[in-house]
């Protein structure tokens, strides 16, 4: 191969290392924002690829492989890492070079994996990351000696600093190393790791004294839980307080855009499609973007700092009691704002069964889109009076709805655990509690951008398509001139609603509810507008409309019907955006169908019981 040819072909690298070795920070530093994030076909494993150019002008394509402790994979993530390193992955070319990343402060664990990779006999370079942290702790590493022992280049890097990768870039730009020389057959990797450490590393203390001091408070059985509660309170307070103005801004913008289009375009189908279909549908979901981003900002901070695994440590036993794992805590908590970030956060759960179970129960947490529906029904049916001197009956009802979701989730997880026990597969924790780290602004922002884009891409494609379908259903066929009742009743949605009424009659829903549920599939709170249009209510403004609607519902429905609809809303997989995310995160229509089927059955059962109990008691 001549030299011009070599510089013309992009070099393909795979970043490989243990979890918490700073691999992703190094990936971000090397590639900047030139990253492509996708999922591996048929798997829930994320594929991260980036591009950069070496000082010589040579192009590099780099794959950020999922963190792994060993090539004996125990999770789908680790299996991808193993297959790519072995050159056996069906969708991935074998990389030219394995760029191994090891945390310089955690070499006992990380070097063993490096040695396991060395067995593959591929060209390798070892990046000793977080060299600055090691130096601060008085850890001295003789990189030259280590390089001599290993037989491939060893380079110190500081992924969080701007020029921390200069030496690495220089090394990649030169002549690349040949295949690593495998160790003799039967070498004990642990013994070899100890030998390397003795030869090249001096470690004054196995742990960072500052970390140990912080952990004495943070992991304390009582104080630790109090700190966790305080952290969560701050996060949720901020999500609601900070997102408000942005959501209002988006809502106003969407409204103004709709008005501008209706006044610019001639009245007719096109204008209605754009305003009532596309803008109202996509806008109704976009309103949640600020909440989602703020929530993710905090989750990323907690993740980057190392707090998340500590929260999992504190809550694991409690969550196991409910059939989940400690790692399910953050997804469940996030789902109180919106199930979408909650389901996306289940990526930190390596076990596929635990992960699916968390995806199944997360939407039962009361999200903010349910609140407008709850507020409408509670306002219409629950008298505003005090109980026992201190409690407001309406407030108690809302609390009851939150608790119903939580209890439902616990029961489902518990039942699933009983069924899982029979299959006798033990769920492992074995969770690394990493060193505390100051989150890096650039890494947090890149993570935020990545998550925001996933949500927007969904809103841009599937949610757009669903909005258009729902608009078609509620607009066509258009009623004849002499039609006296609400136009939606004449439409497909009206007819489907009427047809569904047979199915929903046992749980006390009239056909008006069934019709309103159809546009409500776009986002839960849209059902309020759906009810207003099916009851042909239009007030002077939004607040006025809701007041008239509440009065109308109070006169039209029985208490049993109202309670039944509330019970339905606690469990039903009503929101198409959530469905789209479940599809993306599970990469399986079958799993998505099971998910939707189970939640619908649960909602139907709960509404049935609620309806008949309330009817019997009133």
């Amino acid at each position: 191969m001549d030299s011009t040819h070599v510089s013309a072909t992009p070099l393909s690298l795979a970043l490989v290392g243990n979890p918490n070795c700073g691999k992703t920070a190094l990936f971000n530093r090397l590639t900047g924002a030139r990253q492509k994030v996708a999922n591996y076909a048929g798997a829930t494993v994320e594929r991260k690829e980036g591009f950069f150019v070496l000082p010589s002008g040579r192009h590099v394509r780099v794959l950020d492989l999922p963190g792994a402790y060993s090539l004996s994979a125990t999770s789908p993530d680790e299996a991808v890492t193993r297959d790519v390193c072995l050159g056996q992955h069906p969708d991935e070319q074998r990389p030219d070079l394995l760029l191994c990343v090891a945390d310089a402060t955690n070499l006992r664990l990380h070097l063993r994996f490096v040695l396991e990779l060395r067995r593959l006999g591929r060209p390798m370079v070892l990046a000793l990351n977080m060299a600055d942290a090691a130096e601060r702790r008085g850890i001295r590493i003789d990189a030259k000696a280590l390089e001599q022992e290993l037989g491939f280049p060893v380079i110190e890097t500081i992924a969080v600093r701007k020029h921390g990768t200069a030496a690495l870039l220089a090394a990649l730009d030169g002549r690349l190393p040949g295949p690593a020389e495998p160790l003799p057959e039967g070498t004990d990797l642990h013994a070899e790791t100890r030998r390397l450490l003795a030869a090249a590393v001096s470690m004054p203390s196995p742990t960072n004294p500052t970390d140990a001091a912080i952990d004495r408070w943070v992991l304390h059985p009582v104080l630790g839980l109090a700190i966790l509660a305080a952290v969560m309170l701050v996060v949720f307070q901020s999500v609601y307080a900070w997102a408000g103005p942005f959501s209002d801004g988006i809502e106003a913008g969407v409204g103004a855009l709709g008005e501008w289009i209706s006044s610019t375009l001639p009245e007719g189908m096109l204008s209605s499609l754009l305003v009532d279909g596309v803008i109202a549908g996509v806008g109704g979901v976009l309103v949640f973007l600020p909440q989602i981003l703020i929530l993710f900002f905090f989750i990323l901070l907690l993740e980057e700092s190392g707090y998340l695994p500590r929260a999992a440590f504190l809550l694991d036993r409690f969550m196991v009691g409910a059939g989940l794992s400690g790692r399910a805590f953050i997804p469940m908590l996030s789902s109180f704002a919106c199930a979408i970030p909650g389901i996306m956060a289940t990526r930190s759960i390596p076990n596929p069964r635990d992960r699916f179970l968390t995806i199944l129960v997360a939407p039962m947490m009361t999200c903010s889109a349910r609140l407008p529906v709850y507020a409408l029904l509670i306002g219409a049916f629950i008298p505003d009076r005090m109980v026992g001197g201190i409690f407001n009956l309406q407030g108690l009802t809302l609390f009851g709805l939150y608790m119903a979701g939580i209890l439902g989730a616990l029961v489902v997880a518990w039942v699933a655990r009983l069924m899982g026990k029979r299959a006798s597969d033990e769920q492992a924790l074995m969770l690394e509690i990493p060193a505390w780290r100051l989150p890096n602004a650039k890494d947090v922002l890149l993570g935020l951008k990545e998550r925001g884009m996933i949500f927007l891409r969904r809103a841009g494609t599937l949610i757009l398509a669903i909005s258009i379908v729902l608009w078609v259903l509620s607009t066509f066929p258009t009623p004849p001139e002499d039609w006296a009742r609400p136009a939606i009743e004449y439409s497909f949605a009206g007819r489907i609603g009427h047809a569904l009424a047979f199915f929903f009659e046992p749980i006390g829903f009239n056909w008006q509810i069934c019709v309103a549920l159809i546009p409500g599939l776009a986002a839960r709170e849209v059902a309020v507008a759906g009810l207003a249009s099916v009851y042909a209510i239009a007030g002077a403004d939004e607040a006025n409309t809701e007041q008239i609607l509440a009065t109308a519902l109070h006169n039209e429905w029985t208490l049993a019907t109202a309670f039944s609809l509330l019970a339905w809303y606690v469990f039903a997989p009503q929101c198409m955006a959530t469905l789209a995310v479940v599809r993306r995160e599970t990469s399986s229509w079958r799993a998505t169908a099971i998910w939707a089927g189970l939640l619908t059955a649960l909602a139907y059962g709960a509404a049935f019981l609620t309806y008949h109990l309330t009817a019997a008691l009133t």
Binding site: Y69, S70, L109, D316, A428, M430
Partner: protein, 80 residues
């Protein structure tokens, strides 16, 4: 004696990993994480509910292990 029987703050040395079956994935993973004969370990802290999980230091790393996982690690108490 096994790792789950240590008291917080206690140091010990791993003697062996017991396997519950011939294909014990947990035992295999514990070895990959560094729980091998001769390795010094210490019990750092216990979880708030039912003293589970256990926070264990091995090498330069800390892991949260459930009681059932820690019970597989046979140890000889005392600082190495």
């Amino acid at each position: 004696m096994n790792l789950s029987q240590l008291t917080p703050g206690a140091h010990a040395t791993v003697t062996r990993i017991s396997e519950l079956s011939s294909e014990d994935v947990v035992a295999h993973r514990l070895r990959d994480l560094g729980f091998v004969a001769g390795e010094p370990v210490s019990l750092v802290a216990l979880g708030p509910f039912g003293s589970d999980p256990l926070l264990v230091q091995v090498g330069y790393t800390r892991f949260a292990l459930r009681r059932s996982e820690a019970a597989r690690v046979e140890v000889q108490p005392g600082k190495a």
